[in-house]
């Protein structure tokens, strides 16, 4: 039983957060130039960060909870590049020799012959589909496929892809990674809310001195903490039909934190350029992705039981 990320993962998470603060000093941004994203991707690859989920030469890999610690750091400064799918695909296809700088994504089956793909249009992304037969093959997103970019930090495309599957282990990985990223978004949202409440003055005092604002921030802190506990449990015990609601509960709590952040910012929070909507859109998008993953497995089969993650 692992309750906290390992010391190694915690240290790696701090180092990663520092790199991300350099790469993306302004917080979430929608209007990020393509070359800036390409540079960010190169910096991630140069640091070896896409490999964090793979087993090393001695066979010792980070546990899912450890990987989630790094993904949480990513969520706090997320850019629209396929970092998380790359980490997951490399974890699933350990041993497949692919250059570190290769962006990767995967397919989630949604109904007969269809799949959703996160980050379908990031330049050079290789999309790996797991066939029901067990083989993995690369698929293309056809030119002109409709891309849902409601979540500006994680666009998603629906593609035709027959015979696609996702094993329960991978469903757990997708849900845990998505929830970890949402927790990272929420942590940043709470930090920004508190920073704003300390410096924004109305009626001659910082708005954060009013108990109504304080108590809302305290609720956001509780929501964030409980979301982290739900994530820890998910990474340790997997998903069953009975615990699917726990994943939904985790995402709802992260969303409430971002909603609270917008409220604390008042009118400024509602503007495009303050950028809080990127976080809000992202937690909604991440929850939808996890829902797709769970629907594929937990919607139609009765024999699903806990996928224990015994590490």
């Amino acid at each position: 039983m692992q309750v906290l990320p390992s010391d190694t993962a915690t240290e790696a998470g701090s180092a990663f957060a520092e790199l991300l603060a350099d790469l993306n000093s302004d917080g979430w941004r929608a209007d990020t130039a393509v070359d800036r994203l390409a540079n960010a991707w190169s910096a991630l690859a140069a640091g070896g960060w896409p490999l964090v989920g793979e087993a090393g030469p001695d066979g010792d890999a980070f546990s899912l909870l450890d990987v989630c610690e790094l993904i949480e750091a990513w969520g706090g400064r997320a850019l629209p590049v396929p970092f998380v799918p790359t980490v997951l695909v490399r974890r699933w296809t350990a041993g497949a020799a692919m250059p570190t700088e290769q962006p990767l994504s995967y397919t989630i089956p949604v109904g007969e012959g269809a799949a959703v793909v996160p980050y379908p249009t990031f330049p050079g992304t290789r999309i790996l589909a797991l066939r029901a037969s067990g083989s993995t093959e690369a698929i293309e997103v056809p030119e002109g496929s409709p891309v849902d970019d409601f979540d500006l930090l994680m666009p998603v495309a629906a593609v035709a892809a027959p015979e696609i599957t996702l094993t329960l282990d991978r469903v757990v990985d997708v849900c845990a990674a998505s929830l970890a990223e949402a927790v990272g978004v929420a942590a940043t949202a709470l930090r920004r809310a508190v920073a704003h409440a300390r410096q924004r003055e109305q009626f001659g005092r910082p708005v954060g001195a009013f108990q109504a604002v304080k108590h809302r921030c305290a609720n956001m802190h509780v929501d964030l903490e409980i979301a982290r506990s739900l994530l820890t449990r998910l990474a340790q015990t997997g998903i069953s039909r009975e615990s699917r609601t726990a994943v939904t509960e985790g995402f709802e709590r992260t969303r409430r934190v971002v909603e609270g952040c917008i409220q604390v910012h008042g009118g400024m929070g509602f503007t495009w350029e303050t950028g809080l909507h990127l976080g809000l859109r992202h937690v909604v998008g991440l929850a939808a992705l996890a829902d797709h993953a769970m629907d594929g497995w937990l919607g139609g089969r009765d024999d699903v039981r806990t996928a224990a993650r015994g590490r």
Binding site: V3, H221, E225, I226, S229, T245, E249
Partner: protein, 381 residues
């Protein structure tokens, strides 16, 4: 002492404890939680439980070995409380002594005081109660008015304490009293050991909104307390109180509540007309989510415990835990009330009434939110 729930030491401790609990929790208590026993029988079971804990070396699990404890860290402590609750163990009458008075004496008492009071606390021979809250000092605990006036070698204590659990069984009271001028806030209180059998002490039960009485008010009318019974320096009682109020004592309660709430969530599912094995439809009216929320409490406590075992500050986690379980308990009681299960209606109604207390005692939800906002998040006072 281990710092991780997954360690072999923690697992072995859990196994040994389970075996001991299986052979020691009284059968009558395990079955109905004492519901079918008379008041006298309940008291006897709880006293006997104190004695069994002591005999087996499970009293004062976190006390240092030199004072008769086991010297365990927070991980074993949490395992201890969770397993006791899972096994349906009674709550001993010695709880205030073990969790509050003993640690206070260990931290601030004289050698003579430790030699006199610690062992009877562990053995369950002497019962303690906590005299902090007053009618005019609730959330604002420093506003204590009970006066301890110096008169030679004694203090003369007069005033009123309230919400005092165990007062009618207690031999000693850990009393926070005013010894300095009222205007010297936080520097005018002293911590005293008061003999509950002394002349001038009167205990009166408080009747709660449910009709039950679990707490008391205690009146002190010119009660003589030897100066040697002061813990710490005169007028330094606030600091003494804070060292014990900010330790991990909230963990014991969170562990107990986790087990209570698990039972409640199973009851909710049953009352919703479905057994857990038949979950899957949308007919449960949403009560299935409570099982997840209860499990989140367990992981939240375990995360806080491991952080504290690794040297982190326990205090910020306590406010989150208290806020979370107390409001969850109320939500679940409301849900139970709304299910309209005829068989369990009266049980849920009592639960509902009694759960109103959870967001008030041990620091109201409003105070907990202030603590989080000001001391964890750093918002201005």
């Amino acid at each position: 002492m281990t710092t991780s729930f997954g360690s072999p030491e923690a697992r072995a401790f859990r196994e040994r404890l389970r075996t001991w609990l299986a052979g020691n929790v009284p059968e009558a208590w395990r079955r109905a939680g004492g519901e079918d026993l008379t008041d006298d029988e309940v008291v006897e079971v709880r006293r006997e439980w104190d004695r069994r804990l002591f005999a087996a070396g499970y009293a004062g699990v976190t006390w240092p070995v030199e004072f008769g404890g086991r010297g365990f860290g927070p991980v074993e402590e949490y395992v201890f409380y969770e397993e006791c609750a899972r096994a349906g163990a009674p709550e001993g009458l010695g709880r205030v002594g073990r969790l509050l008075a003993g640690p206070t004496l260990i931290a601030h008492g004289t050698d003579e005081q430790r030699a006199r009071y610690l062992r009877p606390i562990l053995s369950g021979e002497e019962i303690w109660c906590q005299g902090f809250s007053e009618p005019g000092a609730g959330s604002d605990l420093a506003a204590v008015r009970t006066r301890a006036g110096r008169d030679g070698a004694v203090y003369r204590v007069s005033g009123q304490k309230t919400w005092t659990s165990f007062a009618h069984y207690a031999d000693w009271c850990l009393l926070l009293a005013l010894t300095g001028p009222a205007e010297l806030r936080h520097r005018n209180l002293s911590m005293l050991i008061v003999d509950m059998h002394a002349p001038g002490v009167t205990v009166r039960p408080i009747r709660q909104i449910s009709g039950r009485s679990e707490f008391n008010e205690v009146f002190f009318d010119d009660v003589e307390v030897p100066v040697a019974n002061r813990i710490g320096a005169e007028d330094d009682g606030w600091r003494v109180a804070m060292t014990v109020l900010t330790n991990e004592r909230g963990m014991a309660e969170a562990a107990n509540r986790y087990v209570d709430l698990m039972a409640d969530s199973r009851q909710l599912l049953e009352c919703a007309g479905h057994r857990p094995s038949r979950i899957g439809g949308d007919t449960l009216g949403g009560v299935e989510v409570y099982a997840d929320r209860v499990e989140a409490l367990r992981w939240q406590v375990m995360r806080a415990v491991e952080k504290s075992a690794r040297g982190g500050d326990w205090f910020p986690s306590m406010a989150v835990l208290k806020l979370y379980w107390s409001e969850l308990m109320q939500d679940m009681a409301s849900a139970g009330l709304g299910l309209g299960c005829a068989e369990h209606a009266s049980w849920w109604r009592r639960r509902y009434l009694e759960s109103r207390a959870t967001t008030i005692y041990s620091g109201t939800s409003e105070i907990q939110r202030n603590i989080i906002a000001e001391r964890v998040l750093g918002l201005p006072k």
